[in-house]
Amino acid sequence: MSLPARELPTRERPVSPRRAAPPARTPVARPRPTTPPQAGRRTRRGHHPVFWFFAGAVLSVLLLGLVAFNTLLVQTTYGVQDVQQRVGDLADQQVRLSNEAATLSSPERVAQWAASQGMAMPRPGDTVILKVPGVAAAPGGGAG
């Protein structure tokens, strides 16, 4: 014995709105639109000129920004280079000045200059070492 074949319910395929077939034209007159078409609304034939204006403006700003950013970067690079150069130069100058100071204060130069001014190193008998007797502090001594 067999069961009678069941009839499966047919499922309606969802129809995407885009693919939905346009309603059948009927000779019935379409209702007249109650509101005028809004500005900027996408039309079948293309975008509104204002859209293009804004899009162009945004792109120009982005482009300008990019160029400005790059210019700023390059300027900063030059600035960094300049500062690095100055740091190097100043470090060199510092070493040169240290060298100059050491050269000018070298004992030989100072001695020559002193000799040219009539000064001389004391000879053995010229220096007298004096013995100054120290005063011993009183035991437990203190003010008062």
Partner: protein, 554 residues
């Protein structure tokens, strides 16, 4: 038209897709450069941080001879600016190649004058150059650096690695104009600058020592001389001079005559002569072999084995204590004392005082000196008064520093520490000291040495108001074959004030007209000591008593 278009597209596809890696790498090599970041060589400073050696920028002048059309004319133009003869420049200008140095490490203003000439093929490169701002000051201690930036002598060589630092490296991308591309890759390995060495050298004292040494050598008609000035408590070497010297700013003279370029205070040895008697006395006192009151009957000469040794002057048999032997510098007396001490103890005490090995001061080419490897009666007798052994002037100063320091050996040193890039000072590690002789032995030796200066052979070293302790020495030199010749080394080593030593000075004069150390070297000791007293503000100390003498022994 269509075929051409397709061809272009195919070619583009090949270039952009197939050969992409190759061309990308090629582009990178064109705009990417790796440059070495040279590390600044550290300075060498004196103990007050005044630069003794410094690195400045100089320039190498080079030529690409292929661009030179008239070498002779260019040589004539360049020669006066570079201070050379035109003939000296011709080999470089006519060199068969694309690069040759014309002059190395010239001053920047000289290089600028050369560049201003706009001579074909001539250009310059920046290079570092070592300068020694004080000129001929301690040149053998400092050493020098070659044109390639490597330390070749002295401290420059010893501490070359630390002074040189570590060069860095930077890889950057550059625009065709040579400007770094800031958004591109920039990999840098930072360079580490060399450390600054802070030496123990006192620049002012070094100059006075050199001036006095040169004067003394010239006054004595000597061949040369050496002085070491050090602090016995710390081992700091205030001054180290060897005459003749050289100008380290013009170190090429060392290739022609290396003699003035050696730091003879450290690298050369000499037979110390009577200054060595202090070790004989130390061994006698420390081992108890000789009592300070013991009397020796000392003749003017004595036969040892097949040799006859004698004192410096003829005298009848004299009664002397150990103190008298040191004061009068009797060779025979020293030999008699050494006989009591014995071979083993003599050898042991020479070793304890540092003979036969480096002091460890940290200087390239330091000599060890020599002590007899096998002892007999003759060697013992001659070694007792400083012949047959060889030491450096620094070793001799070290012996007296040990006595001045109460019998404790302190590591002599030339480096106080280092200074890092941020200016902070890092003291060098101090090597532990050790006792060589007991304090009472050192004290008795000091009394004997003070008597030498007060009433013995070293009276020329006296300084009014200060008690000086020291010993004269006169030793015969040996020739290249090891035979004694009639040339002498006169020396004086001492310290002051005897009661609280602050300074050890070792002076040796090579082949003076007046051979005796007491005459040739002691006055130089005195002159240096007088200056050092003022320079370091050394106060006089309570005098030490004289040692027992045969005249005073009951």
């Amino acid at each position: 038209m269509c075929v051409m278009f397709v061809g272009i597209v195919i070619r583009l596809a090949f270039l952009q897709v197939h050969d992409q890696v190759q061309f990308e790498a090629l582009g990178l090599t064109q705009r990417e450069r790796t440059v070495e970041l040279p590390a600044d060589r550290g300075q060498i400073l004196d103990r007050d941080a005044t630069p003794l050696a410094i690195t400045l920028e100089a320039r190498d002048i080079y030529v690409n001879p292929t661009f030179v059309t008239d070498p002779f004319a260019e040589a004539q133009t360049l020669a006066p600016i570079l201070g050379l003869r035109a003939a000296e420049l011709m080999p470089a200008l006519t060199h068969d190649g694309t690069f040759a140095f014309v002059a190395r490490q010239v001053e920047e203003d000289v290089a600028q004058r050369v560049e201003d000439l706009n001579l074909a093929g001539i250009d310059s490169l920046p290079v570092p150059k070592r300068y020694y701002p004080s000129g001929e000051l301690a040149p053998q201690v400092l050493g020098f650096v070659g044109v390639d930036g490597v330390g070749l002598a002295g401290l420059e060589s010893q501490f070359d690695t630390a002074l040189r630092g570590i060069p860095g490296e930077r890889t950057q991308e550059f625009s065709p104009g040579g400007t770094p591309i800031s958004t591109a890759s920039d990999v840098a390995k930072q360079q580490v600058p060399g450390i600054d060495l802070v030496t123990t050298i006192d620049r002012q004292m070094q100059y006075q020592v050199q001036t006095a040494l040169q004067r003394a050598v010239e006054a004595n008609g000597a061949k040369g001389g050496t002085v070491v000035v050090m602090d016995p408590a710390t081992g700091d070497v205030y001054a180290m001079a060897s005459y003749p010297w050289y100008d380290p700013n013009n170190f090429s003279t060392c290739a022609l005559d290396p003699e003035p370029c050696r730091n003879r205070a450290v690298t050369d040895t000499f037979e110390p002569g009577s200054v060595n008697k202090v070790i004989t006395a130390a061994a006698a006192l420390e081992t108890g072999a000789v009592d300070v009151y013991r009397r020796f009957h000392v003749p003017a000469q004595m036969t040892v084995g097949e040799f006859t040794i004698h004192d410096s002057h003829v005298h009848p048999v004299e009664t002397m204590t150990l103190g008298d032997i040191i004061t009068e510098s009797s060779n025979i007396g020293a030999a008699m004392v050494a006989t009591e001490v014995g071979n083993d103890e003599m050898a042991r005490f020479m070793s304890r005082f540092g003979y036969g090995r480096q002091t460890g001061i940290g200087f390239p080419g330091e000599a060890e000196g020599s002590v007899p490897s096998a002892w007999d009666d003759v060697i013992r007798a001659t070694a007792s008064y400083g012949q047959g052994v060889a030491v450096t002037p620094l070793q001799m100063a070290d012996v007296y520093a040990t006595i001045a320091n109460g019998g404790r050996w302190v590591q002599p040193r030339l480096i106080r520490g280092t200074r890092s890039a941020d200016g902070s000072f890092h003291a060098a590690p101090v090597k532990p000291s050790h006792e060589v002789v007991r304090p009472d032995t050192a004290q008795m030796l000091t009394r004997m040495l003070a008597e030498v200066v007060k009433d013995g052979t070293g009276v020329e070293a006296q300084i009014p108001g200060y008690q000086v302790a020291g010993k004269t020495g006169t030793s015969r030199k040996i020739d290249d074959y090891g035979s004694y010749i009639d040339r002498y080394m006169a020396s004086f080593v001492g310290f002051l004030p005897a009661g609280a030593p602050r300074l050890v000075i070792a002076v040796s004069i090579d082949e003076p007209r007046t051979v005796y150390g007491g005459v040739a070297a002691a006055p130089l000791f005195s002159e240096i000591a007088r200056y050092a007293i003022q320079r370091l503000g050394i106060p006089a100390s309570a005098p030490v008593p004289p040692p027992p003498s045969a005249q005073r022994v009951p």
